[in-house]
Structures are given as C-alpha cells and as structure tokens.
C-alpha cells in the first residue's frame, strides 16, 4: 500500500460525499446566480445542467487519469481546494461574466437569443471549472478505496457512488431549503466552498501529505479573503432609481426600487430585463395608461354591485390590483379580498414598502401558496378572480393556464362572476395570447373578451360564468360607471378587442399537453413583428 493509504475508508467516503454535495450546491445555486441577468427559464436550466454534466464527464476522465499517478488521496485534497476557492469566488465572478454576454439595456422582444447564448457562455466560464474539478473526486476516491480494501473495483465504485450520491442529495435539500433561504446566494456559495476546503483538508490529512497543514491554512486564508469580495452583485439600477429593499427568497431575487421622478415604486424579480411585477403609487386608484392593473377594476365598474365585492387575486405580488381597485370602486362597494402569492418574501416586502395592509376582516393574504393549490382549497365563491401569475418575469406557469385549471376557476366564481387575466403578448395572434384565450373560452363554454392594453405589451382577458359579456346592443364594449369610460375609450376603436370563441384558432392547453415554454419562446421571437403590425392596421 502506498504512503497515502487512508486511515479510514469512511473518511474518504465522507470526502466523496462532500464533493457530491458541493456539485449540487454549485448546480442549483448556479441558476439563481444567473437569474438576475438571464432569468431562470427552462433554457437557462438546460444550459446550466448541460455545462455541469459536460464538466463532470471531463472531470471523471481527468480524475481517472490522475488516480493512476502517485497519491490519489493527496490529489483529492488538492482538487477540493481548487473547487472550494473557485466556488468562493463565484458570486463575485458572476457579475463580470454575465456582463460580457448581456447588453446593458435590452427589450423583451430582443431577449430570446441573448438568454440562450448568454446563459450558456456565462455558465461555461463560471461553472465548468469547479464542476470539472469536482468530477475528479469520484474516480480518485474509487482508487483510494480500492487500494485500501483490495477486492473488486466494482465494490469500491459502488461505495463511492453511494456516498457521493447521498452527498448530492444533502446538497439538493440543503441548497433549496436551508442555505439559500437563510444565507442568500453569497452565503450559500461561501458555505459550500468552506465545506469543500475542509473536505480537502481532511483528504490531505488522511493522505499524510507533508504540507497538508500549511496548504490547508493557505487555502482557508484564500477563502477568508473571498469574504472581502462582498455579496453577489446585481444588475445595475437605471438612472434615477434607488433600491429600497432586496432579498433572496426560495424562488427568486426580489427587490423594491423607487423612482422618485415618477413617484412610483416597483417590485422587480430576477431583474435582468425591462419588466416589473408590481407597482406602487402613494394614492390608490388608476395608474397611468399603459398599466394593465387598471383593467382589473373594470368588472366591478361594469357590474356596480353594492356591498362586498368578493375578490380572489392569484398572483398578488405586492397588491397593485387591490390598490387600484380600492381607489375606483363605486360608492357602497368594498373589497373582501383573498390574495395568493407564491413568494412569502414578496408579501413581506410589499407590507414594508408598498402599503399592502395586514390581514383583517376584509383582507386575507396567503404567502407561500401555489395558486392552483390555493384555488382548490379556497372556500366560498367569488365575484371576481384575478389571475396574474408569472414566473421568471414573463412566463406563465404551465399548470396555471390549462383547460382543467380554468374549469376549476369557473367553479369558484359566483354565477355572473368575472375572471380577469393578465396576459403578456405582442398581438392578438401571439401564440401565448391565442392559446390561453382559446383554452379559457373552452373551459367557460363561451366566448371570452380579449383587449389590448394601450401603450404596453399586455392583453386583458375577461371571462364570465354563465352571464353575458359587457357588450351593448351594437356589439360595442359597455362603458360602465366612472372612471371606466377612460379605460374603455381606446378600446372603442375597431380592432382594439376581440371575442375569442371556444372553437377559435390556437392551441388548446391541457394538463397533459401545455408547451408553454415553447409558445413563450415563439412569442418573444415574433414579438417585434407583431407589435409593429398593431391592432388596428
């Protein structure tokens, strides 16, 4: 047995497990690290996973070759040191690397290729080196175990794969449920780096490497120095904006940005592109033309129902819909609202900075609940349900736009109740807009109303349960009570709205077949052309 024979196979397996955990931390947190610049769409996930797999393949080969040379356990220590140091620097390197592949300003309709290639190139620069180095750990560990125990190589391989995979499992749960939520991105990478470095130190110690103590100490100093590099950088704010709050949740990076010149605050998540999730103005009521939230108030103005207006908002965000409606409801009508928001951090920041009220008899907010789950458990029926659920800035979650989901929504509406949906899209022919409208119409068994929001890339979809849509005898949109006429006025032009029948063109989206990612990618690719065509052309 060579001089680096392990004191215990258990120690080597522990080191291998830490290597596995480190790989998963890097992989999972990698997407979060890229999200502020490129989002966390399927394309980004695919690129990150592909790069990590490629790196592991390379690492396995390199590790296999290194295992035959001299002291595999000492080599294990070195590769873990390298991986640890690189991992510690990742939060700091991310802004530099992403900056190379993301233009300073980019409109959504131009973003598709940038996201695809930019996230791939950034992943290669950032994650290929540490993942490749971590890939070396397993073959080296197999060699060490095999030498220590003798016997079959398959047995040694099985032990190492088992420990590495258990470590990966720990890395997956630890990253998602513990590290990111409690330590943020920078802290997560630093903890992972420290674990890798300590595992490297253990490997060096087990290998009885002559300079193991000195090397370990130097690497730990390097890790300590990485703390001085500060937290993961974020995309820059635009001129005139200040950041009021920032946080990392289980789902995304969230920040509240104030633009004093406009007198507005914006809730932004994964803020790489020119989009926002919620807006706030000091006074409740309608926002400027171009904000789709205004359209959510139309059903209450069309129907004029005295008493409580029972409202459920799926995708509450910071509560902009509530704030707009509170300011315009007819006299004698008040909101009795249930708000559902997936991300509890959004609710927390909204209460702190965007005047989202605390729960009382007329408002209940559930943070941390998926809209579909919340819908199925919601008690009673509603006069209006607002659906404004988006992920990764612009993506409608596939399970929230299917035939089955819209049927569930319909069942939760009181007879005559209204469904209001915000749809991002570039024209009536936009594949996402057309598919969701058709699917909703099929679920409601009747035509739905689709209106373009002026000065924006949004559409408002309105459906009603067992009641007529707000059209007058001439087939024109009804104005409703004040201030709805100003919202309706631009929609009285020919081509500003459409009725979409259940049998309309467009893809029917079901729980079984809902290629939303594909449709959204098509939508963004066709965006510029559809926008230039206009609605009245």
């Amino acid at each position: 047995m060579p001089s680096d024979a392990p004191l215990g196979v258990l120690g080597v397996l522990l080191v291998s497990a830490v290597g596995g955990a480190g790989t998963m931390v890097v992989e999972l947190a990698a997407v979060r690290l890229l999200a502020p610049w490129f989002g966390s769409s399927q394309a980004v996930w695919t690129n990150v996973i592909a790069v990590v797999l490629l790196a592991l393949a390379l690492g396995y080969l390199i590790g296999g070759q290194l295992s035959g040379r001299g002291k595999p356990l000492a080599t294990m220590g070195l590769v873990l040191f390298l991986a640890g140091l690189w991992t510690a620097c990742l939060p700091w390197l991310a802004s530099w690397a992403a900056g190379l592949f993301l233009p300073e300003r980019i409109a959504l309709q131009d973003a598709a290729d940038v996201v695809l290639w930019g996230s791939l190139a950034t992943s290669l620069l950032l994650f290929l080196p540490p993942a490749a180095v971590l890939g070396c750990v397993s073959p080296l560990a197999v060699e060490v175990v095999q030498r220590a125990q003798g016997g079959r190589a398959g047995r040694a391989g099985g032990l190492v794969l088992c420990s590495g995979t258990l470590g990966s499992l720990l890395g997956v749960f630890g990253t998602s449920h513990v590290l990111l939520a409690n330590l943020g991105l920078g802290g997560t990478f630093r903890v992972a780096a420290l674990a890798l470095i300590l595992a490297g130190a253990l490997a060096s110690f087990l290998a009885r490497s002559k300079r193991s103590a000195l090397t370990s100490a130097l690497v730990l100093v390097g890790w300590g120095a990485s703390l001085a590099l500060g937290d993961a950088a974020r995309p820059a704010l635009r001129e005139g904006q200040t950041q009021l709050a920032y946080g990392e949740s289980d789902y995304q990076s969230v920040r509240i940005v104030e633009e004093l010149a406009l007198g507005m605050r914006f809730l932004q998540v994964n803020e790489g592109f020119d989009s926002f999730q919620s807006v706030w103005r000091s006074e409740p009521g309608l926002l400027e033309s171009g904000y789709y939230y205004n359209d959510f108030s139309l059903p209450a103005l069309w129907q004029e129902k005295p008493g409580p207006w029972r409202l459920m908002v799926l995708g509450l965000g910071a509560g902009t819909a509530l704030r707009v409606m509170e300011g315009v409801l007819p006299e004698g009508t008040w909101l009795k609202s249930l708000g559902i928001e997936l991300d509890p951090l959004v609710v927390e920041l909204a209460r702190e900075h965007m005047d989202l009220a605390d729960d009382d008899a007329n408002l209940r907010v559930h943070g941390g609940l998926d809209a579909r789950v919340a819908l199925s458990h919601a008690e009673g029926s509603f006069d209006q349900i607002i659906l404004d659920c988006y992920a990764n800035q612009v993506e409608i979650p596939p399970h929230l736009c299917t035939l089955e989901f819209f049927r569930e929504l319909k069942q939760k509406l009181a007879p005559g109740g209204w469904l209001s949906v915000n749809l991002g899209g570039f024209g009536f022919e936009d594949p996402v807009v057309a598919a969701v409208a058709k699917t909703c119409a099929q679920a409601f068994g009747d035509s739905v109303l689709l209106m373009r929001v002026p000065r924006s890339r949004n559409f408002s979809l309105v459906a009603r349960r067992d009641a007529a849509l707000p059209l007058d005898a001439n087939g024109q949109l009804m104005a409703g009570t004040e201030p709805s006429p100003q919202l309706i006025a631009p929609r009285l032009l020919p081509g500003a709205w459409q009725l979409v029948a259940p049998g309309a063109e467009g893809r029917l989206l079901t729980d079984d077949d809902c290629p939303m990612e594909y449709l959204q990618s098509q939508s963004i690719r066709d965006g510029a052309r559809l926008m230039a065509a206009g609605t009245h052309g």
Partner: protein, 185 residues
C-alpha cells in the same frame, strides 16, 4: 416627453385649419376630448384619403396603438410624403416600439421635409429641439442594437468554442485512456 406634448398641441393647431369644417376637423375636436370612437367615426366620413389615413394615425397614436399608427401613417405618407405632423408621429411611434429601421427612416424623412419648409422663429426652435430629441432616441436604439449584436456574437462564439474544446478534450483523453492500461500503484 414635454416636447412631445408641446408638439402634439402645435401639430393639432397647425393641422386643423387646413381642413376646417371637414370631417377631419371634427375628428380632431373629438380627439382633443379623448373621444376616440367619435374621432374615428368622423374620419369615416372624410372623403380625402390623405386626411382620413392621417387622422386615423393620430387617433391611434393618442390611443396608444403605435403599431397601428405606423400602418395608417404609411398609408397617408404614400399620398403626401412630406407631411411633418405625420412623420413626427410615425417617428415617435417607431421609437416607442423600438423599431430602429423605421425610426431612422422617419427621422431622416422628417429632417428632409423640415429643410424644404420655412418656419417662424418659435416653430423653428421647436422643430430643432424635436429633431435633437428624436435623433438622440434613435441613436440610443442604434447603440443598443449594435451592442446586442456584438454581445450575442461574443456569447455564441464563446459557447461554441467552449463546447467544442471540452468535447475535443474528452474525446482525446477518452481515446488515450481506453488505449493505455494505467498502473494502479
């Protein structure tokens, strides 16, 4: 934006007298009252093709449909290529849409049309500042497009080179490993 509002007013004032008492003039009055539907109805009675298309472009612009504005503006500009008001609206609509090629085209045509006209001092100053603003916005679009193309190209090259390099390394090392039997110490 202030310039845009001022120009809107100036343009309406300057355009209306050219077609007083016409359906177009009535449409512009309705538009001032934000009665988009009324304005559109008046324009349906407008017998002059240019004023009809031009009026529709203005209505759509005010209603926030910039794509529709461009469609109608092009119709009208085909009949009267140098109309300042239309070119101005079309240029802003194209800028708002981020449509660089069309924004450049309209701004250039607006510049040419302005050269062919003479103005009072007040109007000349207004158009000069408007052109400055439009040129600056168009330049921003140009720079953004240039940066986007360059960054996309860089990302594509780095990605492809990186992937090929790693694959080549894997193939090379894999072949070497398969061919040699490494001693196990």
């Amino acid at each position: 934006m202030k310039g845009l509002l001022l120009c809107s007013l100036l343009c309406l004032v300057s355009a209306a007298p050219q077609a007083q008492e016409s359906a177009y003039a009535q449409a512009m009055q309705a538009l001032e009252a934000k009665d988009f539907q009324g304005a559109w109805s008046h324009l349906e009675r407008e017998s002059d093709d240019f004023w009809q298309a031009s009026g529709r472009a203005l209505v759509l612009y005010a209603a926030g449909d910039f794509g529709g504005t461009l469609v109608r503006a092009d119709e009208a500009l085909a009949l009267r290529a140098g109309d300042l008001d239309l070119l101005f609206r079309a240029a802003w609509a194209a800028v708002s849409l981020g449509d660089l090629a069309r924004a450049e085209d309209y701004v250039e045509r607006l510049g040419e049309a302005l050269k062919a006209n003479s103005f009072s001092a007040e109007h000349a100053a207004f158009w000069a500042s408007t052109m400055d603003e439009l040129r600056s916005r168009t330049q921003e679009l140009q720079q953004a497009a240039k940066e986007r193309v360059s960054v996309q190209g860089r990302a594509r090259w780095v990605s492809l080179l990186g992937l090929f390099a790693v694959m080549a390394l894997i193939l090379g090392m894999g072949r070497g490993s398969a061919a040699t039997e490494t001693p196990t110490g």
